[in-house]
């Protein structure tokens, strides 16, 4: 009698098996992958230079420029928050390194380290203020967005007397740093910028962290339902601040790329508006704006879609007046394909 009650529930015959294919199809990034494939095929047909494998490097570079920052932005979005300051934070990082090294005539690497500290501090400040005030992250990071934008210009002008940082290209350590952040190499005829390699490495690590570690589980949880996560003991505060600091870290990296790809000069007005490109990449890649759902790989695919469309229109040689209209139509196309794939997967 007792065994009847503790015995396992009667076998449930209501579930038809889902093939591995269908299981795969229900991953958040798959829809955007199919969307990317559609866009790729489209441009392979419409834009002859797209077919030239040598141009792959250019397309990947365009994607990587958004894609690197899309990694932490996707993580942050899965964790339920926004960072509107992500775009200008990149400029802040580049400026910090450039101005600091130049003004104090220090080895470039010292400036790089200082920029890292500043970037992490900006992220930590965002996260701290968010948790401290309970304001929506849209507002908090909007504040830092404006503040950083202002500081970028004002401090640069104070230090260098102009609206760009002074060139550090002839200073000690520049060469080695440039090699790390902004060199390029040939791979069978294709010129590959090193940022593409870094991008792939970052995506791989972040995807692994998100799906296969405790931290990743917590990120999903704080984004899906912060109250529930807190109730079962997830350190919501730490996770969110950590996410903002991750954005800081990546902003540092992107800032260094910006600095060294431009021969050691950063324009202080740069970066405004980029935050939305990162968010767009993450959303196109299947991240939910409300948090709790998404994938890092999806964010990368979103960046790829965006990069392909941007350059595809150029490669196709279309009238540039229509550029934005094409871009919009393509984005809609990619996301609707995304949607159809998802619905198909769920109906099976």
């Amino acid at each position: 009698m007792a065994s009847t009650i503790t015995s396992p529930a009667a076998a449930d015959d209501r579930v038809s098996a889902r093939s591995v294919g269908v299981r795969l199809l229900s991953r958040p990034e798959i829809g955007s992958l199919v969307g990317a494939a559609v866009i790729l095929v489209f441009f392979l047909i419409a834009a002859p230079p797209f077919r030239d494998v040598n141009n792959t490097g250019t397309i990947l570079y365009q994607a990587a420029l958004i894609g690197v920052m899309a990694v932490p932005v996707a993580l942050l979005m899965i964790g339920g928050e926004f960072d509107l300051s992500a775009g200008v934070a990149v400029t802040t990082s580049g400026l910090t390194a450039g101005l600091f090294a130049y003004q104090l005539s220090l080895n470039v690497w010292v400036g790089i380290l200082l920029a890292l500290v500043v970037s992490l501090a900006v992220g930590a400040f965002n996260g701290w203020l968010l948790m401290r005030t309970g304001l929506p992250s849209f507002l908090v990071t909007l504040g830092t967005f404006f503040i950083l934008q202002g500081l970028n210009i004002a401090v640069t002008r104070l230090a260098s007397g102009a609206v760009a940082s002074n060139s550090i290209s002839d200073m000690d350590g520049f060469g080695s740093a440039q090699k790390l952040f902004a060199s390029e190499f040939k791979l069978g005829g294709v010129t590959i910028k090193i940022i593409i390699v870094w991008w792939i490495v970052f995506v791989a690590i972040a995807a692994w962290v998100l799906l296969k570690t405790q931290i990743g589980n917590w990120i999903f949880a704080v984004g899906g339902d912060a109250a529930a996560a807190r109730a079962v003991g997830v350190p919501v505060r730490k996770v969110k601040i950590g996410l903002f600091m991750t954005v800081g870290f990546f902003a540092w990296f992107a800032g260094m790329q910006l600095l060294f790809v431009q021969n050691g000069v950063v324009q202080s007005g740069e970066g405004v508006g980029k935050e939305f490109l990162y968010i767009i990449a993450a959303v196109v890649g299947g991240c939910l704006l409300t948090g709790g759902y998404g994938s890092v790989v999806g964010g990368a695919v979103g960046a790829l879609i965006f990069g392909m469309v941007q350059l595809g229109v150029v490669y196709a040689g279309w009238n540039p007046d229509w550029f934005k209209a094409f871009l919009g139509a393509m984005l809609l196309l990619a996301t609707i394909v995304n949607l159809i794939v998802k619905n198909r997967a769920e109906a099976r």
Binding site: I5, A231, V234
Partner: protein, 289 residues
């Protein structure tokens, strides 16, 4: 059989120091004073039932112990130490596991991830999630509760109400250490599953865990409780041991002390004419709809 019997009375009479002790605790939400001067003790191997009307303050009480809210007056001590939990993590670290009435599950996360949320198993030098082990354990625990969840990868948001509740309960029981708090755990559960949960509660008690059990079902309460606390409008209206009360009295207290002729119908095996009796009342009632 005798073991339990003696255990129950032992617990009732034992002078062991309480694991959780609330003295004169109050809690206000802005202008609403949800709790006022509540005292309560939770002892090892004892089931404390907290009963009371809707909105009496039961959930508020347990949220204080679970570290979800801080109290605004009085003192709470855990393991003899006075504590103000600033987060549920602190409560969990003191060995208190809670099943909340509103469940605390992340709806978009899969069943097994929810089950282990905050207590993930890891392996290897990189502390990678041990998915296989977690899925196996989650599946086993849920099966033991007598519910079948077709697919552990399913997001919790797509489960039925009872299935969700089972996930929360199974989790708390699996991780419960010293104190187990259950806020209306059987509310959405089927007859079968309710039985299993009650059994688990008793088992937890016998393992020396202190249990706080909130329910609206006097039968469930009387079946397992050693100690009954009835809240009314945020105050303790009754605080008694099992030995000192009968089911009828308890039911009366739970219904707020009002006359219970009518309600007791639904608490007994009734012949069809019971319907008519209720009917009668309706006719005498003055509601016009």
């Amino acid at each position: 059989m005798t073991t339990t019997e003696s255990f129950a009375s032992e617990a009732t009479n034992s002078p062991t120091t309480p694991i959780v002790l609330l003295e004169d605790v109050g809690k206000s939400y802005g202008n609403i004073h949800a709790l006022r001067g509540v005292s309560l003790s939770v002892r090892q191997g004892e089931i404390t039932c907290v009963l009371g009307d809707n909105g009496a303050g039961k959930s508020t009480l347990i949220k204080i112990i679970a570290g979800l809210h801080d109290y605004t007056s009085g003192t709470m001590s855990v393991n003899g130490e006075e504590r103000h939990f600033s987060s549920p993590r602190e409560s969990l670290d003191s060995g208190i596991a809670t099943v909340y009435q509103d469940l605390a599950l992340a709806p978009l996360m899969s069943v097994w991830r929810n089950f282990f949320l905050g207590n993930e198993l890891t392996r290897g030098p990189f502390r990678q999630l041990d998915e296989r082990a977690m899925k196996r354990i989650a599946g086993e625990e849920l099966t033991k509760m007598g519910i079948s969840i077709p697919d552990l990868e399913q997001p919790v948001g797509k489960l039925s109400g009872g299935q969700r509740q089972c996930v929360a309960i199974a989790r708390a029981i699996h991780f419960g250490a010293k104190v187990l708090i259950l806020d209306e755990p059987t509310a959405a559960l089927g007859v079968n599953q309710s039985g299993v949960v009650l059994k688990y509660v008793v088992k937890a008690r016998d393992a020396g865990i202190g249990v706080i059990f909130i329910t609206h079902n006097p039968h469930h309460a009387y079946l397992v409780g050693n100690h009954f606390v009835v809240l009314k409008l945020g105050r303790v209206a009754l605080d008694t041991h099992r030995a000192d009360i009968t089911l009828e009295q308890l039911t009366t207290e739970m219904a707020g002390g009002s006359e219970l002729e009518a309600l007791s119908h639904e608490l007994r095996d009734l012949a069809p004419d019971a319907v008519a009796e209720i009917e009668d009342e309706t006719n005498t009632g003055e509601k016009e709809q």
